[in-house]
Amino acid sequence: MSPFSGALAPAAGEISARTASGSFTQIWLLIALPLLGAAILLLLGRRTNAWGHWVGVLMSAGSFAIAVSLFLAMRQESGGNRAFTQHLLQWISVGTFQVPFDLRIDQLSMVFVLLITGVGTLIHIYSVGYMSHDHDRRRFFGYLNLFVAAMLLLVLADNYLVLYVGWEGVGLASYLLIGFWFYKETAAVAAKKAFVVNRVGDVGLSVAVMLMFVTFGSVTFEGVLGNAPKASQTSLTLIGLALLLAACGKSAQFPLQSWLLDAMEGPTPVSALIHAATMVTAGVYLIARSNAIFNAAPTAQTAVIVIGAITLIMGAIIGCAKDDIKKALAGSTMSQIGYMVLAAGLGPIGYVFAIFHLLTHGFFKATMFLGAGSVMHGMNDQVNMRRFGALRTVMVLTTITFFAGYLAILGIPPFAGFYSKDKIIESAFAHSTLVGLVTLVGAAITAFYMTRLVAMTFLGKARWPDDAHPHESPAMMMIPVSILAVLSTVSGFLLLNNNWIVNWLEPVVGFEEPVLGFNVNILQYGTLAVVLVSAALGYVLYARRPVPEVAPVGSLLTQAARADLYGDAVNEAVFMRPGQYLTRFLVWFDSRVVDGAVNGTAALLGGLSGRARRTQNGFTRSYALTMLGGAALVIAALVLVRL
């Protein structure tokens, strides 16, 4: 029995689009509003301190309103006719190389726009409360609006070069927001680290764009993706791998994962919006958008699956050992994005579910991050879970909303994660048993570390510091969290109802029915059983037994996970130290060999002149002798020539 109606449709996505007309001419407004907000807040400066945050909220909400109206208008169109492009200006025009500054909205962009503006607006509202004690709140909202504008440009671009602008824009906004409290050295260093590691991935994207230009003579989606099947296997594989590198940087995938954990130095709403719900999923968007390239390059697809699988397990293991609530959630984010990347690598059986999981993850992870922010708000910015415990007694609403997110990430029906994660596991098993088992193990570890997290935070006995007086957060913060919690609960069911998300995305990313060698129900119950056993283990270990306030030494694996599985150590050993040695060698080479040659020549000439100068000794008679000798030589020469 197949619940999917799209099984017979073509597997590959379509990229043709119509020129926008009617209400679709408002596409540019989606980006312009938050950009205007950022300009007002950042350019007018302190004058907007009193009311600036409401400008930020308003611009984001306005963008969301337009997104909803566009979404409703798009639903009126038939499935294959939902893509629209809007020509803004001719950006680059060099001979035959034309890059228009075009925007494009189709089903894939649409869900992203709704996620970014929707979750973005909720987090803006939350931040009004969360940042109320920060004297720099206006600057925070300026950056937040800048981020929303850049992220919208990223998903609304109609060619890879405009996408690149958005890609760099979100990187900049991420850097500014991680380092928002730049007077803290850890925050400043973390911002720099995120920026540098992201640059490595950005090089991948720029290489991909150059390769596209060489291969296709164009960088537009239509020119590249439409001609992808005609290109050579080598070019497609190279482009695919370069795009994968870009995705690794932005989405914190192995081996460029190290920046995400440190990025938690930023304010918690930033962690929720940028480092959980939206920006870090840009890599998944890039792969899903470039589906025509990956479909035609199986080697690149395999690489995507391998990267996703490694990150999925790595992130989960790191999440198990962290005592910092935000870092544990960051490990979880890495792991969940690993799921999405893996699903995107599965090809047409996985793209839709990668995006589906991306949406539900955006909801439930934002819920949990904002919940963590609420906990920190009540606990004097304490992040060590070993000093939490029993917070359910004082923070009832936070606990309830957090549990909605918790059950969603575990994949307990009917919460959102059940639908999305189950589909990914199903597709993974349809691809191969090995990949399927990796996702299953990932689900088990996820259940363990999330149970550990909620048990240490909300259950058990109170281990609060003496000066902590935990209290529920204000309504300004809890209303957005509650809305997100409701979405975490129902979004999975609503989106998969009648296969809506599959039918919606299929025209863009293509879809094939995953075919399992056994009954789907066995897999579903099996997954659920594994998850429940793992969660029960976590409950017994961290809720029933007392949690020590000082972390025990732990096993070798625990120590490794606490050190981010030595990701930083490897980077230091492989890149930083040899780099330092190289620079030291080059400095030595420059000062000794290059400067040595120059200075040596000068010193040699100087020394010779010094010696030669000595012949001018002031003794008239020696001059006379020299003259005589010289005259004798001249005469001798003349005589010799004559002879």
């Binding site: 002031g618 008239t620 008679r621 006379a624």
Partner: protein, 99 residues
Amino acid sequence: MNPANYLYLSAILFSIGAVGVLVRRNAIVMFMCVELMLNACNLAFVSFSRINGNLDGQVIAFFVMVVAAAEVVVGLAIIMTIFRTRRSASVDEANLLKY
């Protein structure tokens, strides 16, 4: 008499003058040696004039005498001044103008 003998004499006188310039320290003696060299040259010029049968050498000998007279005027003035300031006419002691 063979005019070449005058040339030999001229060469001997020139050599004596040159050696005198090189080995003596007293400025006055060096000066006299220089005069000796100049006059050896004059003798050579006049001899060549005789050998070749024209007056070019003799004319140049007159020029040399004029130059030598002018040189004596300037040179003796310098030597006098040096002697007055340093109470010595030794050229080796007047060696301040150097590297």
